[in-house]
């Protein structure tokens, strides 16, 4: 196996991460920077802290696609279990991961995070959704009634 290039990433709070190029390439943002050849002195990721960046890197390591096209050694079911365990975390971390995946443009991680949040919304009434996410209702009851009429089909 040929020696692969290592990419250096620096989190917002100064942590240094050295990752294999194949792992880093899952971030479309980083891939573009590699192509534009501006990764010589490491890449500063100014809006992601070390804790979250470490997690994103762990995800990318687990989901790396090897140069010969083989996916990582884990089977499809193993990956699914790992992903489920990975997403089994507090809301704060979950949304940090979504924002990080969005910024770094790691599509699979972004979709995984969004699907996880969608699963927390599905099957719930609006009141329940507000409770789960601490959303403050800034509508008057009259306004809510108006919207329920507008989108009546969804509320029946």
């Amino acid at each position: 196996m040929s020696t692969s290039k290592k990419i250096v990433l620096k989190s917002s709070d100064g942590h240094i991460f050295e990752v294999e190029e194949a792992v880093a390439l899952q971030s479309q943002t980083i891939a573009n920077m590699i192509e534009d050849d501006c990764v010589e002195n490491g890449i500063p990721i100014s809006n992601i802290n070390g804790e979250i960046l470490a997690k994103v890197i762990a995800y990318c390591k687990k989901h790396v696609v090897l140069p010969d096209g083989d996916t990582s050694s884990s089977s499809k079911e193993d990956l699914k279990d790992w992903d489920a365990e990975f997403m089994n975390t507090d809301q704060s971390t979950l949304f940090d991961l979504i924002l990080a995946a969005n910024f770094l443009n790691v599509k699979d991680l972004l979709d995984l995070g969004c699907q996880t949040v969608a699963d927390m919304i599905t099957g719930k009434t609006p009141e329940e959704i507000r409770t789960v996410f601490n959303i403050e209702n800034d509508f008057t009851p009259a306004e809510v009634e108006e919207i329920r009429k507008e989108n009546q089909w969804a509320f029946e």
Binding site: Q91, S92, F95, I98, L99, N102, L110, D111, C114, Q115, V117, A118, I121, T122, T125, P126, I129, R130, F133, N134, I135, E136, N137, D138, F139, V144, I147, R148, E150, N151, Q152, W153, A154, F155, E156
Partner: protein
């Protein structure tokens, strides 16, 4: 802390796009920020078929419910303005005004929809012909419960890769299949089920097609005059139809897997005798003879007996599944002899009917003639599977034992026993394992419980 509402709006909308359109609309009342976010999504799905019309539902109630549904679809489309739409799925039942449906379809076509999935139970509607003139469609699926008609003048779908049509009248002419394939230059997957067109001359011609499912309308009990396939790159074929008058072209050079259901009309049935063939499917068989895995329906078995002059050699067949349903097995010995490299033989049901041919050694697979047919004694089959065992246990057991004592290269026998009692499975398994005269002593026997009530 409310982390979710503080996400960028595009991200909130992305999250909501993982829900059905209807479900995501519930979030419109969460807070002012959320009011319109649910409508910003590239994939739309509307299911109006869930309107269940109970016998007690009064006329005005039905109309009101439908009105609410129509209003919802109208509203979401309005909120979306001119944004691009990727997928649009619509399920519509009785009562939704056809003109609304047409407008919705035209709306998304104009906005570049690439995946259109329509499922109808509408009567008397004609879908807009623009459906067949879209430059953006990659996948088009139209299914109907009551037959509806589509005005198909010209077909120009330059990006279409998948076309699925079920229970539709396609235009009025007899060359709709040709129109479809010549208008879809990159078509890879074609499914035509109960398409009421091209009755007498069915012809499918496409260099790009990889998968073809053609299940012709079986309601008319008449043989088509001519069937042609010029599909050299099709890998997977499912074909169900009456025996044709002629098969001028059957080109399937790349065929790997096929499921064939050829049927005789009731008239052919009545008049069929062993001596007087009612038709000839030889040319069709010649065209598919490169296939590797083949499924033969019980109807096809019959056709092979009464409508076939010559079965070609299927050099590449390694897997053969035969559906047997109160059918005679007259054509089986000839068919098996033409599969010299067969490894896996599957019987979907083990129902054997006695015919006069059973008295010939090579007229059937059963024991009746007293001698072992060569198709069994020199059979290359390594794996024998019997599905749906249990319809007539004694007869099926006899046949199974007959196979065990005649097939010399058998390595595995697997029986899927349809029964309510797992004791039956154990009994059958022990009985077969104890059977003393196996032609292949290494043959491993497995009886698997297929719970009927499950």
């Amino acid at each position: 802390m409310d982390r979710i509402s503080n996400l960028p709006e595009a991200l909130i909308s992305h999250i909501l796009s993982f829900l059905t359109t209807e479900e995501s609309a519930l979030t419109s009342v969460l807070s002012k920020k959320w009011r319109y976010l649910f409508a910003d999504r590239p994939n739309l799905d509307f299911d109006g078929s869930v309107i269940r019309f109970h016998p007690e539902t009064r006329e005005w109630e039905m109309t009101e419910i439908l009105r609410v549904f129509i209003r919802f679809v109208d509203r979401v489309l309005e909120l979306q303005g001119n944004s691009t739409v990727d997928e649009f799925s619509l399920k519509c039942g009785r009562g939704v005004y056809p003109v609304c449906v047409t407008n919705w379809i035209l709306n998304v076509l104009e906005r570049g929809v690439s995946d259109l999935d329509l499922h109808f139970n509408l009567s008397g509607v004609s879908l807009p012909s623009k459906v067949f003139m879209s430059k953006s469609l990659v996948r088009l699926r139209i299914e109907s419960e009551n037959v509806i008609a589509i005005d198909m003048e010209d077909v120009c779908l330059p990006k279409l890769k998948t076309l699925y049509i079920n229970k539709i009248v396609l235009g009025e002419d007899d060359d709709c299949f040709e129109k479809v394939t010549s208008g879809c230059r990159v078509l890879e997957e074609l499914v035509l089920i109960n398409v009421y067109s091209d009755f007498w001359n069915r012809s499918v011609s496409s260099k790009t097609l990889k998968s073809l499912i053609l299940a012709c309308c079986m309601e008319f009990d008449k043989n088509p005059d001519s069937i042609s396939f010029d599909t050299p790159n099709v890998v997977y074929l499912e074909y169900s139809d009456y025996v044709a008058g002629k098969y001028p072209k059957v080109k399937f050079n790349s065929l790997v897997k096929a499921s064939i259901d050829l049927v005789m009309t009731s008239e052919q049935h009545e008049q069929a005798t062993y001596e007087h063939l009612m038709g000839d499917v030889t040319d069709f068989l010649m065209g598919i003879r490169n296939v590797q895995t083949l499924y033969i329906s019980a109807n096809t078995l019959e056709v092979l007996t009464f409508c076939c002059v010559h079965i070609p050699v299927f050099h590449n067949i390694i897997g053969l599944t035969i559906q047997s349903r109160k059918s005679g097995w007259e054509s089986l010995p000839a068919l098996l002899k033409k599969c010299p490299n067969l490894e896996t033989l599957v019987f979907d049901g083990l129902s054997h009917s006695f015919t006069v041919k059973c008295m010939d050694v090579d007229g059937c697979l059963c024991k009746f003639s007293g001698e072992v047919p060569t198709c069994l004694s020199s059979s290359p089959v390594k794996v024998l599977k019997i599905l749906r065992f249990g319809d007539n246990v004694e007869k099926e057991k006899d046949l199974t034992k007959h196979f065990l004592e005649t097939m010399p290269r058998l390595e595995q026998l697997m029986i899927y026993y349809d029964t309510l009692f797992d004791d039956d499975v154990f009994e059958l398994s022990s009985e077969l394992k104890r059977f003393p005269t196996k032609a292949s002593p290494i043959c491993e026997i497995q009886v698997i419980f297929n719970n009927l009530s499950g």
